[in-house]
Structure formats: C-alpha cells, structure tokens
Symmetry: C2
Subunit: 121 residues, 2 copies
DNA sequence: GTATAAGTTGACATTGATGTCAGGTTCAAG
DNA sequence: CTTGAACCTGACATCAATGTCAACTTATAC
C-alpha cells in the first residue's frame, strides 16, 4: 500500500508518516521508482505509534520500545533490557497519573456542561 | 501566599504562574511593593489549570471555562453559554478518546515490562 | 542600614511533531 | 506518448507552554 492510502486509513498525514520513517519508527519497502510501499500491517503500527505519541512518549523512546511489542502477527522480536524496562515503568506511572488527571478534567467539563443544559434545556 | 510558595506547593514553576496570570487564568492581589499575593484557594485553582492543560485545552478556552467551574468555596460565578457548552462537549469527547488511547498505551507498556521481568526475575 | 533572599518585567530560546510549499520524479490509464 | 494524480526530498514555518537570563526592586532578618 502506498503512503496516500496509509494516510487515509490511519488519519495520519503523509508528512507525519515520512517523519516516522525518518525517526526509525516505520519501515517501508520502495518501488523501483522510490515510492514507499507499506505492508498491510503498517496500519496497526501507525495506530500504535499515534497512541504512544498521545501518551507523551518521544520518538526516540518509541523507537526503542517498538521492537519489544508483539505485532499483530506474532511475538516481539526483542525483549526489553532491564534499563529500558525501568524507563518504561516510569512512563507507565506517568501515563497512569495522566489518566487520573484526564478523568478529573472530564468530570469538571461534565459538570459545567450539565449546569448549562439544566439552565437551557 | 507569595509566588514562591505557590510554586512549591503546586509543583508549577513561577514562570508558568506568571504566564497563567497574563493569560487571565489566575488573579493575584499585589503588595504595596508590587509582589503577587495569592489566596489559599489559588492552590486548587492552579492544580485544575494544570489538569486542563494536560487534557489539551488551550489557555483561551480554559479562561472561558474557569468562571463556570464551581470553586472550592462555592458555586460557579457564571453559567456556560450554549455555544461554550457545545465547545466543551467536543473537548470532553476528545478527552474521552484520549483516555482510551492512554489506557491502550499503558497496557502495551505493561506487556513489555512484564515480558522483561519474566525473563529477568 | 545592610545584606541576602525573593520578587518584578521583558526579551529571547526551546521543544518536537506537524503544516506547507517548491521543484522535480514516478505511476497508471487512456 | 501523454497527461494528471500521486509521490519524492528538502527547507522553512508554526504553535504554545515553559526555560532562562538580565537588570532591577522589594522584603526580611540581623
């Protein structure tokens, strides 16, 4: 699949897909003419990458993490080193705190929205 | 309370507190000499502001939202207009999706961390 | 009053993913 | 073979919160 289709199917811009490749997060075959050719599995991977970005991980860390994730089609190709695992554990805790904060914010918004809809039913 | 103490107690830098004031998110009395003097209640407010920033709201939107939130000491001083409420509802949905994504990422990290700790117990 | 800590404003820098544009090449269909 | 769509690289711009530094003023304790 080519970059346009991948962009369409993932909702990620072509610009970002090229950036992911530059950062070593995504690999693509090339046609004889140099156009990127992605495997079907790239769709899942891009979604994961996006989620990890949304979770506040930087591309360098994602690059180290990706080989340790199990793919849609099989187990991980690497096991995280103890150091990486500790690093990821810290990220995990940060994400957990983030979820708590987001939940708080969501509840605050709900309250404001409900107050408005009660006045203006 | 002065800015240094507020920064210490909230974990937010003095720089950011001044920025919040500049953006209309935070008000402070001034001493005769011009130093900021915050009420006790500012601590809670700063925490809320941080959470809303973490939820991806921009300062302008937070500024419109804040008067509609109930404070630690009482009800809201304003009720959101229908337009603001609709706007916030969209943010709410975005935050909800974000929580889902973060939960996914957390689970992925857990899996990688567990795989590493199983190999290296 | 003097020293030192804390505060003030203003300006400039940073960060990192993404947008955008230009100039050129490749692909696919007629 | 031609044409228009899709793709390539490279460069520059953006956004918004925060860091940082400078030059100065105020507060506090001795």
């Amino acid at each position: 699949m080519r970059i346009g289709e991948l962009a369409r199917r993932t909702g990620v811009s072509e610009r970002s897909l090229r950036y992911y490749e530059q950062q070593g997060l995504l690999v693509a075959d090339r046609t004889s003419g140099g156009h990127r050719d992605y495997p079907e599995q790239a769709v899942d991977r891009v979604v994961r990458i996006q989620e990890l970005f949304a979770a506040g991980l930087h591309s360098r860390k994602i690059a180290r993490l990706l080989p340790c994730m199990r793919d849609a089609d099989g187990g991980p190709s690497e096991i995280a080193t103890p150091q990486l695992a500790a690093d990821l554990a810290a990220e995990r805790d940060r994400i957990e705190r983030m979820i708590t904060e987001l939940t708080n914010s969501r509840d605050v918004l709900d309250e404001v929205i409900n107050a408005a809809s009660r006045r203006d039913p």
